[in-house]
């Protein structure tokens, strides 16, 4: 049986300066913290990062449940490791606008549903997707993440934007429960981008909170096929308040 178990350092060893990675999570809920920590430790630079948003900065979210440290993609931003972020929302983590103003970080905005479908198209072999989202808005006229013009396609009198697949070198995913072959599922609202990102990259790494033996739990629980997973890293913990 192939052994997919790796340390975080081994799993991210192939991530080089200038690569493109996708990171699961929504405002860091569902983000693989131990993989972010390993990237910070490795010190890679000039990354293109695909995710819903820029994660959280230390002290966010506001209120009694604020975290003491940056979370999710926020860790990469804190260490100035990102040159380009492709996301649907950039208003929460203040590091984003700071780095836009400094000129060290650029961004491409993609509507949230479109972002999921572009990633899904990459994972599942589609040449692109047609979506009504963004017709008549700057999404129609602005260039996409690779500087390409958008096409508008009309079907039965309705306009759609033709959105191309979004690939990356690595997908970094938090799972709630996985078996040692990499079959996994994510609890509650931690699913977000953690399902579509598996298989949209050359390499998929998962960090499960709980690891079980193959056959230990009913396979019907699993949402994503372990065949898409290259590396499994133990040690991820449920977020602690």
């Amino acid at each position: 049986m192939i052994n997919k178990m790796k340390t975080a350092q081994e799993a991210v060893a192939g991530i080089q300066d200038g690569m493109t990675i996708m990171v699961g999570g929504f405002l860091a809920t569902g983000s693989p913290e131990i993989l972010m920590d390993a990237l910070v430790e490795k010190g890679v630079k000039h990354l293109t990062v695909i995710g819903n948003d820029g994660g959280l900065d230390a002290g966010q979210p506001a209120g009694e449940f604020a975290a003491k440290t940056a979370r999710g993609i926020g860790k990469l931003l804190e260490h100035h490791m990102v040159d380009h972020i492709i996301a649907s929302h950039l208003g929460v983590n203040p590091k984003l606008n700071e780095q836009f103003a400094e000129g060290t970080l650029r961004y491409t905005l993609v509507p949230q549903g479109t972002l999921a479908e572009k990633i899904r198209a990459a994972a599942y072999g589609l040449g692109g997707v047609l979506t009504p989202t963004g017709v008549g808005t700057p999404m129609e006229t602005e260039l996409d993440e690779l500087g390409r013009e958008k096409k508008v396609v009309e079907i039965n009198g309705k306009k759609y934007l033709f959105e191309l697949p979004l690939f990356a070198d690595y997908s970094l995913i938090r799972a709630s429960v996985a078996d040692k072959f990499g079959n996994y599922y994510c609890s509650k609202a931690t699913k977000n981008f953690n399902y579509v990102m598996a298989g949209a990259s050359d390499h998929t790494i998962i960090a499960p909170e709980k690891l079980v033996e193959i056959g230990e739990i009913d396979p019907d629980y699993f949402a994503v096929a372990g065949v898409l997973v290259e590396s499994i890293v133990e040690g991820e913990k449920k977020w602690q308040i």
Binding site: N52, F65, S88, L96, G113, P138, K188, N192, V196
Partner: protein, 218 residues
């Protein structure tokens, strides 16, 4: 101001039918959930991944795996269904989320909506707003009628659009308005205002529905 927002939220709560599936934006729209009549069950969509969002969590019932789209820890109703982003927005674009309630910076008389770019402000992004406006059959705008006296309901939007021709209804402290093929029709006018005051606070010509009545909150 707070009272006016409550007025708008209360009136908007009357828009929902039993069994409906709807999405509430952050801010004033979120307040609408507090005023849904008890005999009506509305399932609220949280774009980050579930159908059945409930109240904000506290230390006694907090689950770190459940946040809303603003990043606040929340709770879910017993009938909740969690899903990933692809399914969440499949439900949106497919028209299964019947209505979305959002705020606006500008609404045009043809239903164009601008609510995602504030000129000169920091970059924020559209999040799920463009998908919701393009996908939901009903886009209900809840907002104060003007911004510091400046018109928000206009002949044509000046800001970049969130979606074109998407708004179906506008609820403000002054009136309830429907966006129809031939412009904006007033179906309810609040007793605190005259027709002329409403028209003067609006940047396009309003049409008086033949059955226009007084806007009631309760």
């Amino acid at each position: 101001m707070a009272d006016l927002k409550v007025r708008i939220a209360k009136r908007c709560a009357k828009e929902f039918k039993d069994g409906e599936f709807a999405n509430l934006g952050i801010g004033l729209p979120t307040m609408v959930a507090d005023y849904i009549p008890e005999d009506i069950t509305v399932t609220f969509h949280s774009e980050n991944g579930f159908a059945g969002i409930d109240a904000v969590a506290d230390a006694s019932n907090l689950d770190v795996d459940i946040i809303n789209s603003g990043g606040t820890y929340v709770t879910a109703v017993p009938r909740v269904k969690y899903f990933d982003t692809a399914e969440s927005f499949g439900l949106v674009r497919g028209g299964h989320v019947k209505a979305t309630v959002l705020g606006a910076m500008e609404v045009a008389e043809n239903g164009d909506l601008a609510n995602w770019i504030v000129p000169g402000k920091k970059v924020a992004g559209m999040g799920g707003a463009m998908d919701l406006c393009a996908g939901c059959p009903e886009v209900i705008i809840t907002m104060l009628h003007t911004q510091k006296g400046n018109h928000k309901i206009l002949k044509k939007c000046t800001l970049p659009l969130t979606a074109e021709r998407c708004v179906t209804k506008i609820i403000t402290e002054m009136a309830v308005m429907e966006v129809r093929e031939d412009g904006i029709w007033v179906t309810e006018l609040h007793p605190d205002y005259t027709w002329d005051e409403l028209q003067a606070a609006t940047g396009c010509e309003l049409h008086k529905d033949p059955n226009m009545k007084a806007m009631e909150e309760e």
